[in-house]
């Protein structure tokens, strides 16, 4: 080989190696800083920004990752409400948003619920949203329906309108969604009992049994929710 050819071989080799190294470095450092958990534990501990009701000193924490537009979530809603009413002195119930991308109005519904939550009516709004799910799910402007619910609930509409658009509301929903992703959720609703992912119960009896079992396990586990 003449000198020129040799130069080309070595230089192009160095170039290819350099590109491969830079590429590998880029891919490696652009990755997520935290990975979804695969052990079925919940990623984000509960705090005061979460929508939680029930016992202040719960024996069991029950967290639902849900999407207001998801039909299965709507179907679970009355069941959860009934069981929660029974156990509200013993357990706490937390709703976390996990709006699925294929549900076009789910995110707007989550904002509406959070905005209602600012006026202490999160659960009432959630109830409205689930009960009237078929009404607003497929429309192009669900906000008008949500405002109607807000009026029915007796909310301060001007405050609601500001809150529903606010960055704080969006950030809360995003935080919820992110924690769901990091908890490796792949379906809605997903339930976490004392911070551990639970199989979706198929009946009220199964749900009651899950809660009873968790209560029997003692209060110890509720402190391990991290």
């Amino acid at each position: 080989m003449d000198t020129q050819k040799r130069m080309i071989v070595w230089l192009s080799a160095a170039l290819v190696v350099g590109i491969a190294a830079i590429g590998a470095y880029q891919v490696a450092t652009n990755g997520p800083t935290e990975l979804p958990r695969k052990d079925g534990t919940m990623n984000l501990p509960l705090d005061e920004t979460d929508q939680t009701k029930g016992s202040k000193t719960p024996k069991v924490t029950f967290v639902e990752y849900s999407d207001f537009q998801c039909p299965a979530c709507g179907a679970y809603h009355p069941l959860l409400e009934a069981v929660f009413a029974e156990y509200k002195d013993k357990i706490s119930f937390t709703y976390r948003h996990f709006p699925l991308p294929q549900h076009q109005n789910a995110l707007a519904a989550a904002y509406a619920a959070e905005a209602a939550g600012n006026q202490g009516k999160f659960w009432e709004m959630a109830d409205m949203l689930f009960k009237n799910q078929s009404e607003w799910s497929e429309v192009s402007k669900p906000e008008t329906f949500f405002e109607g619910y807000a009026t029915k609930l007796g909310l301060d509409i001007s405050k609601y309108k500001v809150d529903v658009m606010s960055d704080a509301t969006k950030a809360r929903v995003e935080r919820s969604k992110k924690s769901g992703e990091l908890s490796a959720i792949d379906h809605t609703p997903t339930f976490f009992i004392n911070g551990k992912m639970a199989e979706n119960p198929r009946s009220k009896e199964e749900l009651t049994a899950l809660i009873e079992y968790a209560i029997a396990q003692g209060t110890k586990e509720s402190e391990q929710v991290k």
Partner: protein, 157 residues
């Protein structure tokens, strides 16, 4: 130097070795290099390694067993694959048979190391890291090519 020989050889030969072997070795070395460089960058930046197919990439890569003589295995990998690539290019350049003979030696060392790392992952850590398995696969293929190189050199010597 064997430059004279190469001019009389068929076109598909680079020196004493078939063209395809040389390019396959270079391609594999590049894959192995990129893989190791990725793991090294992950280690230096301290970010977690997303795992697919297997689970436990983080467990394996952060294990104390992933360091040899104070140097992370990923860096050894980078050096190893760069070395293989360098030897092969040097052979293309010089057609020196001594250089060609070093290739099977290096790939054998790489293969034996990989066997040991698989053993470590399976029995000492109990988790597999898919990027490490890719490296093991690449070094196994390199080893097989190394055998071909060794045989060719033997028959043509």
């Amino acid at each position: 130097m064997f430059n004279n020989e190469s001019t009389t050889s068929p076109r598909t030969l680079i020196g004493q070795l078939p063209n395809w072997i040389i390019w396959a070795i270079i391609a594999l070395a590049l894959i192995g290099f990129t893989d190791s460089a990725f793991l090294l960058a992950k280690r230096l930046s301290g970010t977690p390694i997303p795992c697919f197919i297997t689970s436990g990439c983080d467990e394996v890569s952060k294990s104390p067993l992933s360091v040899l003589f104070g140097v992370p295995l990923s860096l050894w990998g980078v050096v190893f694959y760069l070395g293989i690539g360098f030897l092969t290019l040097l052979y293309i350049d010089t057609k020196n048979l001594l250089v060609a003979k070093l290739i099977p030696l290096a790939t054998t060392a790489g293969f034996l190391s990989s066997c040991y790392f698989i053993y470590v992952q399976k029995f000492l850590i109990g988790a597999f890291c898919v990027y490490c398995l890719l490296s093991a696969l690449v070094s196994t293929l390199l080893f097989l090519l190394g055998i071909v190189v060794w045989k060719k050199l033997k028959t043509t010597a």
